[in-house]
Structures are given as structure tokens and as C-alpha cells.
Symmetry: C2
Subunit: 202 residues, 2 copies
DNA sequence: GTCTATACCTAGATAGAC
DNA sequence: GTCTATCTAGGTATAGAC
């Protein structure tokens, strides 16, 4: 079907829209942003823009996917460095502090897409699953290395960690004085202490 | 100004609307619910309903306040029983499992009301503050009783606990197989273990 | 004080011209 | 690939009946 975007111009415009949209969302906030505003920002009419993404929701999902790709490169922390799981997460959180618009978009869409019919539902559902699975894997690696006790349930810890990150972001959005990174590190510290309580090794 | 609702009939109708709205939201979901549907459910026109609450958002905030009052009575856990902080929370979470519509409403509005201009913003902001303060107080009580080490920052633990609850709810909304209560209890268990690591008291 | 009817506005989506 | 025109849905404001 010769997918749209196969022509250089279209591809470039798509990119431009993604970039600008991010800027606008960052400034205006997610719920406040309308398609028209975004269209204005790139010199298109509403429908000129929708031609590229089909719908508002689709555009926003694309923004998040775009971010995921970038983050995955920057903070992926795939191979090897699982010893620094906490520090990797902390870096990621710290980075998020600089892009409140994105965080708001993420939080907003997450909530909106809870109904299974929502166009963005699959994206988030899958994202949660992937992150939980990855997290659990890393935890198991840490357990094998003796950094986390084997008694801890890997899936559960991964789930809780994700919850902490999500939850802290919400609170931060309501009160930017809240230091997400610090709170997360305190949480992670406690997890670490479980392995080596009060300097007693066993 | 002779506030509306000073007449018995109005008061009763308000109650009825609140109840029915809850039912509808529970069934249709938050984002799917329209004012017209709610109006139909209580045998009013759209504007007949809006007469009572002014706007859609206002109505929803009222629903949440209403729930807060009920929950506060049922799971408030104010005086004395702070020793069971975790169990109290767990009960609350377990209860939420039975009212997914409410949880969805809460999650949806929380995200939507992040912009400071949103009519529900103040409600959530204040709620977070109150819950953090209350939680921190309880933590301090537990510390005084030696159930949590003094080295833990009470505010931080309260913040994290709130985050865990919020975050678990989101994941649960995306996948009801996730056992929020169990995950929360695991989390809380670990907190407890910090005080008595591996049976070593100090 | 309680409620209806009407009219209005915003915002997203669709169809078809260019 | 982009625009104009048009449609629809849903929330809101106002006037006034009961």
C-alpha cells in the first residue's frame, strides 16, 4: 500500500511534526493541546496534520514511541550493567525532570487509554508487560550475583519498582518540589539493604 | 445565598445523582461517560443535572469527595491502630478491587487535573498533601514504637507508599490479573524487615 | 428552588477538490 | 500532500416555565 511517508518530503514533515508537537505539549500541557495548535505550529491546517497521523491519539502515541526509542538508546541499560539497575533508573528519572511536558503526556494518555477500545491501549499494555519482564530479568541477575536476596519475588519487585516510578511522577507533576530521584533512590537503597542488613553478611 | 440543596428534595436528588453516576462510571468507564448518560440514568435532562453540579468535572470531583468520606469512615485508621498501617492500606486496596469504575475515575481525573487551571486540580493537590502528611505521621509513630528504624525518612516513606498504591492501581487497570494487594503487602513486608533484619534485633 | 428547551461553541473526523 | 467545507459529538450558557 505504499505507506505514506515513503517520500522524503513526507518523512521530513513527520519528523518536524513530532518535534514541534513535543514542544507545544511541553508548554501547553497535554490535555490543553489541540490538533489545531499543533497544526499551526508546523504551518498546516488541522487536516493537513491529521493526514500524517490519522488521529490525535495516534499522533501522541507516535510521540511516545519516538521517545521510547531515544530513551532506550540512552538509558536502556540492557547488557551487563544490571549491577546499576537503580542508578540507571535514577538517571532516567532525573532526565524526565527536564521534560515535564512529556511526562504529563505520558501520564495523561496512560489514564485515558485504560479502556481497551482506546487506540493507545495496546501501546501501554505492551509497554507495561515489557518493562515488567525486563525488570524481573534484571532482578534475577542481581539475585544470582547475591545483591538481592533470593527470597524476593523478581516479578513482584519489578512491578513495585514500576509503580514507584509512575506514582512518583504523578506526585511530582502536582508538586515539582518533590524530588523524584531522591525518593526513588531511598526506595532502592532499602532494597539493597535487604541483601546486606546492617553490615551483616550471611 | 441560600445555597442550592437547602431543600429536602434537592438534597435527595443530589444523593441520587452521586449514586447513579458511580454505577454508570463503573460500567461505562470514566472517559466513556457523558453528562447526557448520567442525566438519563436519573431521569433528568442534561442541564437539569448540570444545575446541581455546574459542570461535568465538578460532578466527578463530588463523586470522589463522597467516596473519600465513606472510605475515611471505613478505612480511616486514625487513632491508635497505626501498628497496622500496612494492613489498613491493604484492606483499602482490596476494597478498591471491587470498584474498578471508581479507581478508573480516580486515575483518569488525576491525570486530567494536572494543569493547575483544571477545576479538580486543587482537590488532588490537597489530597496528596494530606495523605503524605498523615502517612508521615503514622510512620513516625511506628518509628517511636521501634517498628521502623529511625534512619528512615518518614516523609519519604509516605511519599513512596502513596506512589506504590497509585502505580499499582494503574497497572491493575491495564491487567486485572495483577494482585495489587499482594504486591503491596510484599512491599510493606520489606519495610517491616528493615526494622528486624533476619531476626537480628538491636 | 428545580428543571426544560434552545441555541452555541469547541474540537475532532470525514469527503472531496486541487 | 494539503486545503476547504462539512459533519458530529459533547459540554456550556441563557431564558424562562413550573
Amino acid at each position: 500500500m505504499a505507506r505514506q511517508g515513503s517520500y522524503p518530503k513526507g518523512v521530513a514533515k513527520r519528523e518536524e511534526i513530532l518535534e514541534k508537537a513535543l514542544e507545544v505539549v511541553a508548554r501547553v500541557g497535554y490535555s490543553g493541546t489541540t490538533v489545531r495548535q499543533l497544526a499551526d505550529a508546523v504551518g498546516l491546517t488541522q487536516n493537513g496534520l491529521l493526514y500524517y497521523f490519522g488521529s490525535k491519539e495516534n499522533l501522541f502515541v507516535e510521540i511516545l514511541r519516538h521517545r521510547d526509542r531515544l530513551d532506550d538508546i540512552a538509558y536502556g541499560g540492557h547488557e551487563g550493567d544490571s549491577g546499576d539497575m537503580g542508578e540507571g533508573m535514577a538517571k532516567f528519572i532525573r532526565h524526565n525532570t527536564d521534560v515535564p511536558g512529556l511526562v504529563q503526556l505520558h501520564a495523561g494518555l496512560t489514564a485515558e487509554a485504560i479502556s481497551p477500545e482506546h487506540p493507545a491501549h495496546a501501546y501501554f499494555q505492551e509497554r507495561y508487560e515489557v518493562f515488567r519482564a525486563r525488570g524481573a530479568d534484571t532482578v534475577r541477575t542481581l539475585q544470582a550475583a547475591g545483591k538481592i536476596p533470593g527470597s524476593v519475588d523478581a516479578e513482584s519487585l519489578a512491578t513495585i519498582m514500576l509503580a514507584v516510578v509512575d506514582g512518583l511522577q504523578t506526585q511530582w507533576l502536582y508538586d515539582p518540589r518533590i524530588d523524584m530521584t531522591e525518593h526513588f533512590l531511598r526506595f532502592w537503597d532499602q532494597v539493597g539493604k535487604l541483601a546486606a542488613p546492617e553490615g551483616i553478611s550471611r
